[in-house]
Amino acid sequence: MAHERDALITGIGIVSCLGSGADAHWDALNDFTPVVDTESFKPFPVHPLAPLDLDKQIPKRGDQRQMEAWQRMGVFAAGLALDSAGVKGNTELLSQMGMIVAAGGGERDYAVDTAILSGYPKAPNPGAYLNEHLLGDLRPTLFLAQLSNLLAGNISIVHGVIGSSRTFMGEEGSGADAVRIACARIAAGQGDIMLVGGSYNAQRPDVLLHYEMGGLLRRAPFDGVWARQSSGGGMVLGSVGCFLVIESRAHAAERGATAFGHIAAIRTDRCRRGPGEATANARAQFEAMAAHYDPAGAEVISGASGAAAPTAEEQAFLAEIGRPVRATATALGHSLEPSFPASLALAALSVQRGALFGPLEATEQTMTAPLTQALVTSWGHWRGEALALVTAA
């Protein structure tokens, strides 16, 4: 039953290796060819960001210069989402709009790092050497391009979203909780319209270093999330920026906005990932949304990262559900913080269009029945389990 405080998705902004914008993504998914860079970060394949015409969403060159790539792609995607919702430039509305950003941290200055790493062991006084070079060689503004909350800060500056501004950190779960909290605030009347999402730059040696320490990265050649599992699994990271405008049904109706879909339910939880624990969380989440679920028209957009153990466990859980599945990470790469918003965007697009795009790899089933709903999973590669259900608006 429609309720005036239902949380509707009224704007989608997404950039990834597949292009810029919701339509470009829909078209690319329906005529799917993986976009993978296997050369730049050998031996790791990475899904590179498609070229963006930054001026379209970040008109001031000064603003572009103040940001690093993760912020530019996030601010760009946020602008697309505001355009998509028809609220770009609406100063009065944007001054009331809340924002929850899921973010990690920003790029480093690789030249400075490399010079310090090379010189430090030979320096007569290593501590003084480090101080001297950090103080002398770091760009003062780099700090602001690294700080987690400065994606939100730049969105406030460039797009004027200033009603509230919160940044959540914590890999996949932060993106899921950003959406969950936005929906809860809308349901409770703690906000009417929110901008929610994040961005991730995978084309960074420091993030590849981090996940390589964890033994989590897939080596080339590239194959899909599910196909990888027979040979040890692993993550292929992807550069993604994705923002959604989430709005109460009453607010959307009042301004005549059309919605992509309705976030009928969303749940997040955690466990220690003992055998079966994540599945138990997912089952409980699924059961809690049973009242809204209609298996006949449902698809699953999975946020499976490719990391072996959780991906295998999720695959078994999804087999219980028995609906056609698409793994977002096969198409966009795994993008940590924005991975859940991005999966939610793909889910909303397919619900709006009443159809599922074709299989991304051999193990994914085609869907012939009309699509009315999408389940969206996000099991963090390490921790956190999330499930949402998107229904027709």
């Binding site: 973010a103 480090l130 909350n149 890999e171 779960g173 909780d177 605030r185 703690q190 420091d206 320490m213």
Partner: protein, 424 residues
């Protein structure tokens, strides 16, 4: 308080437990004694070499050991200690079973130089060391614990596991307003009826060479290194920057109904929260002060109070020329003629700026201020700034009865949060 709901019919949110660590010491008692005696916790940095630095002082927490020092490791340890104090005072739940979510204000997490140098050494590269060399070394598998340590989610995950909080923990960063944001998230969750209780923690132990230098490069830090205790000078005409500091604060937030039903002592009330972002500049406030003004007004409206109800302001008061000026612009607009006569002191004059943790630490000190009827001073107030005619409770604590106070937090990225705290 006779009703369990506020002026808008929402559950009243109260504080039933608090825990705090700053450079002044561990626990409410030691901190309160030092804070009201005008003691400074700022000292010479001994954690890393200071040669060549413009700023050589900080409010470090050096008395809490951790096995392998890093910002997330010490931040997590400080959080554990303050949570233990807060949960014990509250008496809520059982050990390892907190009946609500964890809302954590956490500094951004990043691998540090110690790890980079160790990876470089392990790579065997000897002339030019590149990230390719570090990545090759990482592939050995022997650095796996660092992968987990430097995930953004691991501090919250470890705390959730240890204290048995419910659901996925939220780690928030709104720069120097993070603590205020975490409290706001807790208040909102209780008001929505999602939970009867929330564990709110702000922690920050990120005084290391690169973090200090980053702030130094933005000319944000005081360089008044001699003596260290004199460096943090909020509202004084010769203020020149803030002093980086470490600390942590934990609050058990609870609905009044829940606190009553289990006979818990109510320490204070979180009456209102206000928040407005500023789109003017990455590090500077709008010159007209509009976002700060709107933020304080939103907080008062949320609390159902008028400016004349406020008896004390726990200032953000960083001691940078810009912050203190803009905070005064905001306070004078919101409070009008009373602005200069409302006591408004800065805890940061003594504890320094605990960054991510500041909002929770200072909310705790504000609750203690109300409970004890004693206003902590602003120390180092030697030369009044004629442009800022504040009553900053100069240099010596002062007895005063306060029913309602506000606590401000402002951060880079246009982050502004204001809390209204009231007597039990």
């Amino acid at each position: 308080m006779t009703k369990d709901t506020d002026h808008l019919g929402r559950p009243i949110v109260v504080v039933t437990g608090m825990g705090v660590i700053t450079s002044l010491g561990q626990g409410q008692a030691d901190n309160w004694k030092a804070l009201t005696s005008g003691v400074s916790g700022i000292r010479r940095i001994s954690r890393f070499p200071i040669e060549g630095l413009r700023t050589t002082i900080a409010g470090t927490v050096d008395f809490v050991p951790v096995e392998e020092l890093s910002a997330p490791a010490l931040s997590q340890r400080l959080a554990e200690l303050v949570i233990e104090e807060a949960v014990a005072e509250s008496g809520i739940g059982r050990v390892g079973d907190f009946p609500g979510p964890l809302l954590l204000a956490l500094p951004p997490v990043e691998m540090e130089w110690a790890q980079r140098f160790a990876l470089a050494a392990a790579s065997g590269a000897n002339d030019t060391v590149t990230y390719d060399d570090l990545i090759r070394a990482a592939g050995s598998g022997s650095f796996e614990p660092w992968y987990r340590r430097f995930l953004f989610s691991s501090v919250g995950e470890n705390l959730a596991e240890r204290f048995g909080t419910k659901g996925l923990p939220i780690a928030t960063s709104t720069a120097c307003a993070s603590g205020g944001t975490a409290i706001q998230l807790g208040v909102e969750a209780i008001r929505r009826g999602e939970t009867d209780a929330a564990l709110v923690v702000g922690t920050d132990a990120s005084v290391n060479a690169e973090s200090l230098i980053r702030f130094s490069l933005l000319s944000a830090l005081s360089t008044r290194n001699e003596p260290p205790s004199s460096a943090s000078r909020p509202f004084s005409k010769d203020r020149e920057g803030f002093v980086m500091a470490e600390g942590a604060g934990a609050l058990v937030l609870e609905s009044l109904a829940s606190a009553r039903s289990r006979g818990a002592t109510v320490l204070g009330v979180v009456q209102g929260c206000g928040e407005v972002a500023d789109g003017f500049h990455r590090t500077r406030s709008s010159p007209d002060g509009k976002p700060i003004i709107a933020c304080m007004r939103n907080a008062l409206a949320d609390a159902g109070l008028a400016p004349e109800d406020v008896g004390y302001i726990n200032a953000h008061g960083t001691g940078t020329p810009e912050n203190d000026k803009m905070e005064w612009v905001g306070v004078s607009a919101v409070f009008g003629e009373r602005a200069g006569s409302i006591p408004m002191s800065s805890n940061k004059s003594m504890i320094g700026h605990s960054l991510t943790a500041a909002g929770t630490v200072e909310a705790i000190f504000t609750v203690l201020t109300i409970r004890n009827g004693l206003l902590p001073p602003t120390i180092n107030y030697d030369i009044p700034d004629p442009l800022l005619p504040v009553d900053c409770v100069p240099n010596v604590a002062r007895a005063a009865s306060v029913r309602h106070a506000i606590s401000n937090s402002f951060g880079f990225g246009g982050q502004n949060v204001c809390l209204v705290l009231g007597a039990a």
